[in-house]
């Protein structure tokens, strides 16, 4: 078999709190790599943004996701001490810790095996716009299975 590793860094410009879909970029990256069977790792290089795989059909599902995290980790938690970077800083780390930094998606026949309704999103937890770096790493074979 002919194995290879292909790595690429995505830049995502966020416009404040919310979810930003990466699915099209992931599919394009896998397709362009020529790798047919393997494993795709998605890794966020930050501690105040994370990854989440969510339903991407009805945007209301993500409205509920955003509202839920504001409810579960409010910016007003009275015991927080790491506050000098603003009230949204420590909550952003907590929301990141509750979701994911890395996600690994099997690749089969040159496609990530995402389910019909699965989209991959960057989850921005800070209020201000940020430039986020997401590393994509694909390892596998260019031969058919």
């Amino acid at each position: 078999m002919s194995f290879s590793v292909v790595t690429r860094e995505l830049t995502v410009n966020t416009r404040g709190k919310g979810t930003y879909e990466l699915t099209r970029e992931l599919r394009g990256f896998v397709s362009a790599s020529g790798i047919r069977e393997g494993q795709l790792t998605v890794f966020v290089r930050h501690t105040s943004a994370s990854l989440v795989i969510m339903e991407n059909a009805d945007p209301e599902a993500r409205t509920d996701l955003h509202a839920f995290f504001d409810h579960l980790v409010p910016e007003t938690l009275p015991f927080l001490v790491h506050t000098y970077e603003g009230p949204d800083d420590s909550p952003s780390h907590l929301r990141m810790a509750l979701t994911r930094t890395s996600e690994v998606i099997p690749v089969q026949s040159g496609q990530p095996v995402l389910g019909t309704w699965q989209g991959v999103f960057l989850f921005e937890h800070r209020r201000a716009p940020h430039t986020r770096k997401v590393t994509l790493s694909l390892m596998g074979t260019t031969d058919p299975a």
Copy 2:
């Protein structure tokens, strides 16, 4: 070294909310693959079911897991708007986002390196029975270490 990738899709028929153990299927898949050193990815292809690694000795540990998620993400959260598929739909996405969609387990000497008490479970978040697809992807070498 002789590298290969082996992929298989598991079908899990769930009977409503709860955890369904996959550990035996994972061990059987790794064993049958012939791969001795590598990495096993487990990936759930849904947004209302997830993965969790839990103690598999005392079933009461999982009773507490189920009760805790009913407590942390109740079906009665007043701010949810994505409700037309039933009161358990949006909470199922939130419970999925708080647990895992992918899990990667190192494989050594032809065995996943799970700890003594670790079991891998599909975590079903919907009330109704569902047919769930879980992709197993094993990449590594058939040579001894």
Copy 3:
């Protein structure tokens, strides 16, 4: 390309609840492996300890992390039934389920692609000291990209 898999088990002696940084050990392991392009999997072999990637600049960020998990999953949840191993046992499984058991970090030019502020920590959830096993698995090529 010249592929290989390198696996090593780290032992971490914990002194009760809290986070224990593993970043230096991960970097040393990757560096010593000779692998330049690939994927590093970190896997905790326990159900009452987990992994978390957190800011490692200001220790107050981790103070907030510890306080938040005491708040989110208190040891006094009235519905817990798995209590014979102590009040911190079932909460430790729940805190583990909300964080991560495996984390995969791309390796590029012989270095894990961690962001500037990202540290990898073992998250101990039990009060008593424990000896924890963390498996590191690195798969990739020794050739330059």
